[in-house]
């Protein structure tokens, strides 16, 4: 069965916005394109029945991380990015390297075979109840440790960005 039109639409939008992220002149445009990209990926999550994850994705990424980046761009006044349109051999090499990587990754997985498809036993795979169950039983330790991770990230962020006391 062919993938539906919705899949093609979403995929096209995510690829185009990703290209915009990379190739646009102004950092603000890159940030905004990335937000669009995140939304389309959230759409993909919903199509794959990962509802909880889609919401979390939007809240965390589009809502928090991108806003943070926007703040930083504004704060550091990085709107002018002059050096983009100066042609450099490095840019060519970069593009070629990226392309090569794409080809090599594809070629690496080409010969692999998928497992046989099994329809999910429980249809409620992606909802919050199921994920919550998993998090608090099988993956309890990583869950708790991620809280430690957050604490350390907060402390380091505060320390690094503090103005030096003269």
């Amino acid at each position: 069965m062919e993938p539906s039109i919705l899949f093609y639409l979403l995929s096209a939008m995510s690829v185009i916005s990703a290209l915009f992220v990379v190739f646009s002149r102004s950092p603000i445009y890159s940030v905004l394109s990335l937000i669009v990209c995140f939304f389309t990926i959230a759409g993909h999550y919903i199509m794959l029945n990962a509802q909880f994850l889609a919401i979390i994705h939007i809240i965390v990424y589009a809502g928090a991380i991108m806003v943070l980046m926007l703040f930083t761009v504004m704060l550091l006044n990085l709107n002018e990015d002059v050096s983009v349109h100066k042609f450099n051999i490095t840019k060519l090499i970069a593009v070629i390297t990226g392309g090569l990587l794409f080809l090599v990754i594809l070629a690496s997985v080409k010969s692999s075979t998928l497992l046989t498809y099994q329809a999910p036993a429980n249809l409620n795979i992606g909802n919050a109840q199921d994920i919550g169950m998993k998090l608090f039983t099988d993956y309890l330790l990583p869950f708790e440790i991620s809280s430690v991770l957050f604490v350390s990230a907060m402390i380091s962020a505060v320390l690094l960005a503090k103005k030096e006391v003269k």
Partner: protein
């Protein structure tokens, strides 16, 4: 007696000197004067063990392996000992005379600062000599062979602060090495043709060989070259007179009694091999006679007391080799034994004289010492009588036996050897008369310094004098007694080779008496001539500059040393200089410097990769990841 009981004593024989060496090397400084006793007791232990085995051996052969040494394909070389009658004679001689010389050295080297070093070297030498004698295959013998060469070097150059002594030590070692090359080639040929180096195995395999097979001739010639180097025959003999640079006990032990007889022992051990190659025996005979005469002639005109004895050693060794060449292996061993006694006595006596004269070695400056050092004089007289072959001292019987065998073989050989004996008698008595009789020709302080040596030096002299006097009775000829003790003792060893020898017509009793008479008469004539020259006419040897013609050639040792120097040593030096410039500087230095240069320059180039630009690093990272994955896909 059960042979198994003898294994432990036989293993202790070399272990005692080895322990002595190790103890003295590490603790010598702390032991001080006591180290002399440690070393002597070690050798005494070996002597007692040898005596124990001698009494218990009874015609059997003690042959056992200690461990498997080399195992390469078909070739199995083990480290083992073989003790039969031949080895036991050598063991008794080596350890017995070794012990006496250790005692002597305690007195002689008393004031030397290298006292403990001397004894450690002496013990090491005895250890290697014992290995040489006791080995049951050519490889173990070769270990001992090389080892005694090394110790000879160490001991000749003992007073290493004098460069001339060092040169003498080097000369001895290098000449020995030249002979060792022949020995090694012989060993390789043995491995190639016999597949083994074990004495008994080779002897068993020899039954399938015919006489004068080219293989055997080659092997025996190579082994003989080895013996030439070690036992100072022509042309590799010039190291022995120079080796007199070492202390006198060293000369006595190494160059009179033990090391120089190693070559003869080796040939006697391989007697069946040599008996099957009569061609080599002819060559040995010729070389032996030539050496004997040559060295004796040189000895006539020497003026250093030790050099005279050194040339006498070379001459007597030539006599022993001549005996081997005649196929008379037991006679050669008999002469080895008696020669060890009286030559060691002569050297130790000479040491005593030098000690009394406060270091003087020139006989032109001595004289009339028979009044001052009586004991040394008496023992020296006995030894001189023995070496000249006067009845009934030891040298008479052994020399007479060789001459009798020579007469059986060929009249010319007998005549030449008799002439050599006459010359020997002449120069030995010349030495005796010039040193001990007449008036004292030295300086005043030397005269006041004259004194008899201490008991530690005179006791060995007395023991050796007794042996020189009565040792000959071990080998009485047929006319005087029905049994020749030594030859019967050694007969199991030489049985096989005797069966091969073409029995010349045995001498009748009348002929034997005649020969003995002629020999004694010839010796007495020489002694009288020496007496006439040096006592009646009181001739004193002149200095070298006053000589001319033949005398000059003889006094300068026929210029052999100079010849060797010009023909062999100088081209070597030129060649090494050439190699230095050509190969050392141009090739090897170039290679080494080039390597360094390459490393340096590639380092310089690779350094440029670290540009510091982060973007470049990122690209490099991704690119290498791509390459790795690419290779992973391909492979």
């Amino acid at each position: 007696m059960n042979l198994l009981n003898l294994i432990t004593p036989s293993m202790m024989i070399p272990i005692f000197p080895l322990l002595g060496f190790l103890i003295l090397s590490f603790l010598g400084k702390r032991l001080g004067a006591f180290s002399g006793w440690v070393a002597s007791m070690a050798i005494l232990g070996s002597f007692l063990c040898s005596l124990n085995i001698f009494l218990g051996l009874d015609g059997q052969q003690l042959n056992y392996t200690i461990f498997k040494w080399i195992s390469a394909g078909d070739l199995q070389i083990e480290f083992g000992f073989l003790i039969d009658h031949l080895s036991i004679i050598m063991l008794l001689v080596v350890t017995g005379i070794g012990f006496l010389i250790h005692l002597y050295s305690m007195g002689y080297m008393h004031h030397d600062e290298g006292f403990t070093r001397f004894f450690s070297y002496l013990n090491l030498f005895i250890f290697f000599m014992l290995l040489l004698v006791m080995g049951n295959n050519y490889a173990v013998m070769f270990i001992g062979w090389e080892g005694v060469g090394l110790c000879s070097y160490l001991l000749i150059g003992f007073w290493f602060k004098n460069q001339a002594y060092n040169n003498a030590a080097k000369k001895a070692f290098i000449m020995n090495r030249i002979g060792d090359l022949g020995f090694l080639i012989g060993i390789f040929a043995l491995v190639f043709h016999f597949g083994t180096l074990d004495f008994m195995d080779i002897q068993n395999q020899l039954v399938s060989f015919e006489s004068n097979a080219p293989v055997l001739i080659f092997i025996t010639l190579m082994l003989f070259i080895g013996a030439t180097g070690k036992s100072a025959q022509l042309p590799l003999y010039t190291w022995l007179p120079d080796a007199m640079a070492g202390p006198t006990p060293v000369s006595a032990l190494i160059h009179a009694a033990t090391m120089v007889t190693a070559g003869i022992y080796m040939i006697c051990r391989s007697n069946l091999l040599f008996a099957l190659a009569p061609f080599t025996l002819h060559i040995i005979l010729i070389v032996g006679i030539a050496t004997s005469l040559f060295a004796a002639i040189i000895g006539i005109k020497q003026n250093d007391i030790k050099k005279i004895l050194a040339y006498s050693t070379v001459s007597q060794l030539g006599l022993m080799f001549a005996a081997i060449g005649l196929g008379a292996f037991e006679s050669s061993m008999f002469h080895v034994m008696t020669h060890a006694f009286f030559k060691a006595l002569l050297f130790l006596g000479a040491g005593s004289v030098i000690h009394a004269m406060g270091g003087e070695q020139d006989i032109r400056k001595m004289g009339g010492l028979n009044k001052s050092i009586k004991l040394t004089f008496v023992t020296f007289l006995i030894a001189t009588l023995a070496i000249s072959g006067i009845f009934p001292f030891a040298g008479f019987f052994s020399k007479d036996e060789i001459l009798a065998k020579a007469f059986e073989h060929n009249l010319l050989v007998w005549a030449l050897l008799s002439i050599s004996s006459m010359i020997t008698a002449f120069y030995m008595f010349r030495l005796l008369f010039l040193v001990f009789y007449g008036e004292f020709r030295g300086t005043e302080e030397q005269y006041k310094h004259l004194h008899e040596s201490p008991i530690s030096m005179t006791l060995p002299l007395m023991v050796l004098a007794v042996l020189s006097a009565f040792g000959g009775f071990l080998g009485l000829p047929a006319v005087l007694s029905s049994t020749h003790q030594l030859s019967e003792f050694l007969s199991p060893v030489f049985m096989a080779s005797k069966s091969l020898k073409v029995e010349a017509h045995a001498l009748t009793h009348e002929q034997e008496w005649l020969l003995m008479g002629i020999a004694t008469l010839a010796a007495l004539v020489s002694i009288y001539y020496a007496f006439h020259l040096y006592m009646k006419k009181k001739v004193i040897p002149e200095n070298e500059e006053a000589l001319s013609g033949l005398s000059k050639w003889v006094a300068n040792k026929f210029y052999v040393d100079e010849f060797y120097h010009k023909v062999i040593v100088n081209p070597m030096l030129i060649l090494s200089d050439l190699l230095l410039v050509l190969i050392d500087k141009l090739v090897i230095d170039l290679l080494v410097n080039l390597t360094a240069l390459i490393v340096d320059s590639t380092g310089r180039i690779y350094r440029l990769i670290q540009t510091g630009s982060t973007g470049f690093y990122l690209i490099a990272m991704v690119l290498s990841m791509v390459i790795v994955m690419f290779i992973q896909i391909i492979l």
